[in-house]
């Protein structure tokens, strides 16, 4: 049976670059796929693009392309990525310039657009899924609205001969579904295949998270050589079944357990994993070891899509100020609690208005709240952390200041104070009828 090998070159925007170069060199792959967009990334990228129209794509695009383009071009490995963020065309032009400089003059590069639906969302009557609040209530604070697009646009770009396909927001698994549609000629109506293709994409999209990254728990779950973790390869057959594996000499491991953790990661109802092209059903999926670092995954199914696309709307939400300081030795926790009370009183008495305030002791209750840790032994050192939400940057700054002044005004022995204040770009979702977002392909050559 015919088989396509897909490599995952990144699982998030800041991911390691060497494992992608290793896959291009030693992975015997036909596609190298970089997933680089978190929920809020496009909103931040849109802000960057407003300041500089040439920017708005992934800041690591150049480093990643330089690391893999020569090898990929030589071996005919095609690249697919969402590093276009808020400016896929700008990212494609940048890639074309890099290819030209590297002497890869005949490389065909495609930008796939259509995910930017800001005008449509602002013109319509949409409400946020979680809160039910109308988008219109945010008035002038909305920065971006991007639909999670399906695989169709990327498939078309591949059909037009693109060797590098750069897109903005797409559903992460769609990056991996597109080459399968192209290679095997599966139609977008084939729910069964699209369901299993979603399994493939979901397993690969976080890169190292299926090859032993984010898995190790010494003594219980050991993973070799995480400092040189290998990124995954999905060996996909024409019937949709996949074997997840890695370059043999790379670090990490692929086992049924690593695959199960990634399969369930960030899904809700396993029978209804909503995707733009399909409602995937993971409930009958099975995993089976078929060799060293080789795990066969089958059984993904699917139903027709809902006809609605998830859209991430980015907006200026608030300003958050934060301060931290550490206390140690005997009595550390009592001094830190005293310090928290001092900060709380100071914020009130100096009129710093917060719509939300968190007073944490890192080492005691910052991750899970006070209940879980109440029986734990007292730590030898503890770090106080105060974070508050304000309506202005000027007020947010005062929160960190009130932590810092604990140095000379607070309990004995506080050390290592830090402070920060930042504008919060938040993201919420709306649902948009699918026909209101259409993908389109722009082809570039390396010299353009």
């Amino acid at each position: 049976m015919r088989c396509i090998r897909l490599g995952a070159g990144a699982g998030y925007a800041g991911d390691r670059i060497e494992p992608a170069a290793e896959l291009a060199r030693d992975g015997d792959i036909q596609y190298l796929i970089f997933e680089c967009l978190a929920e809020r990334t496009i909103a931040l990228a849109q802000q960057a693009r407003r300041r500089d129209p040439q920017s708005g794509f992934d800041p690591l695009l150049e480093a990643r392309m330089r690391a893999v383009l020569p090898t990929c071009a030589a071996k005919g490995i095609r690249i697919i990525t969402n590093m276009g963020a808020a400016n896929p065309l700008g990212a494609a032009r940048k890639t074309a310039a890099i290819a030209h400089e590297l002497g890869l003059a005949d490389l065909k590069i495609a930008a796939v657009q259509g995910d930017d639906v800001l005008d449509t969302v602002l013109a319509g009557d949409y409400r946020f899924e979680e809160s039910g609040t109308p988008v219109a209530e945010l008035a002038g604070r909305v920065i971006s609205a991007n639909a999670y697009m399906g695989a169709g646009g990327m498939r078309d770009a591949l059909a037009q001969g693109a060797q590098v396909v750069i897109t903005g927001r797409v559903a992460d698994p769609a990056l991996f579904i597109a080459p399968l549609l192209h290679e095997f000629g599966w139609s977008l109506d084939n729910c069964e295949r699209l369901g299993q293709a979603t399994v493939v994409g979901h397993l690969l999209e976080c890169a190292g998270q299926v090859t032993g990254g984010y898995f190790a728990d010494p003594g219980l779950k050991d993973v070799p050589q995480l400092a040189r973790l290998g990124f995954p390869i999905g060996e996909v057959s024409e019937d949709g079944s996949v074997i997840i594996t890695k370059v043999a000499s790379a670090g990490g491991k692929v086992t049924p357990a690593t695959c199960k953790e990634q399969l369930i990661y960030e899904i809700h109802d396993p029978k209804r994993y909503l995707q733009p092209d399909v409602v995937a059903d993971f409930s009958e999926v099975t995993v089976e070891s078929v060799g060293d670092d080789r795990v066969r995954v089958t059984g993904g199914r699917g139903h027709p899509p809902t006809g609605l696309l998830k859209v991430s709307v980015g907006y200026v939400d608030s300003y958050v100020g934060e301060g931290q300081i550490s206390y140690g030795g005997p009595g550390a926790v009592a001094r830190a609690r005293l310090a928290l009370e001092i900060v709380r009183e100071r914020l009130a008495s100096t009129g710093v208005k917060t719509s939300e305030l968190r007073l944490d002791l890192i080492g005691i209750d910052s991750l899970y709240g006070p209940t879980i840790s109440r029986r734990a032994a007292e730590p030898y050192e503890v770090r106080l952390r105060v974070a508050g939400r304000c309506d202005s940057m000027a007020e947010a700054v005062r929160i960190g200041n009130e932590v810092e002044t604990l140095y000379t005004n607070g309990p004995a022995g506080g050390g290592g104070a830090t402070k920060s204040a930042r504008e919060i770009i938040a993201v919420q979702s709306v649902l948009l009828p699918s026909h209101l977002a259409q993908g389109s392909v722009v082809m570039l050559g390396a010299t353009s």
Binding site: F215, H268, L367, Y368
Partner: protein, 102 residues
């Protein structure tokens, strides 16, 4: 005994919703986990964190469960004031759940 001895786990996030997998090391323990690790217990365990509901989805073919917890991430990853805004560390605390020995 601790849940950690029978299962492993990973947390994911979408908006203000957190999901935590519980995966039996040995699929033979699936029924036992089904009995002991109920959504009510998980909700109680995370009383300070989860302000919404806990729904448990069963994946018997994987020997696994998926717990989906709403209003669990301080208003959503992108605006939460929490140190761990994604709630990535929740899985480790769930594995601290105490189970009867047999």
């Amino acid at each position: 005994m601790k849940l950690r001895q029978l299962a492993h786990s990973r947390t994911g996030d979408k908006g203000n919703t957190s999901n935590i997998s519980v995966i039996a090391h040995d699929p033979a323990d699936y029924e036992r986990l089904l009995r002991e690790v109920t959504p009510e217990r998980v909700k109680q365990h995370f009383a300070d964190v989860v302000k919404g509901t806990v729904v448990r989805y069963e994946l018997p073919r994987l020997g696994a469960f998926n717990f989906v917890m709403t209003l669990a991430l301080g208003g959503g990853v992108t605006r939460s004031l929490a140190l761990d805004a994604h709630g990535k560390s929740l899985s480790s605390a769930l594995l601290d759940l105490e189970l009867p020995d047999s």
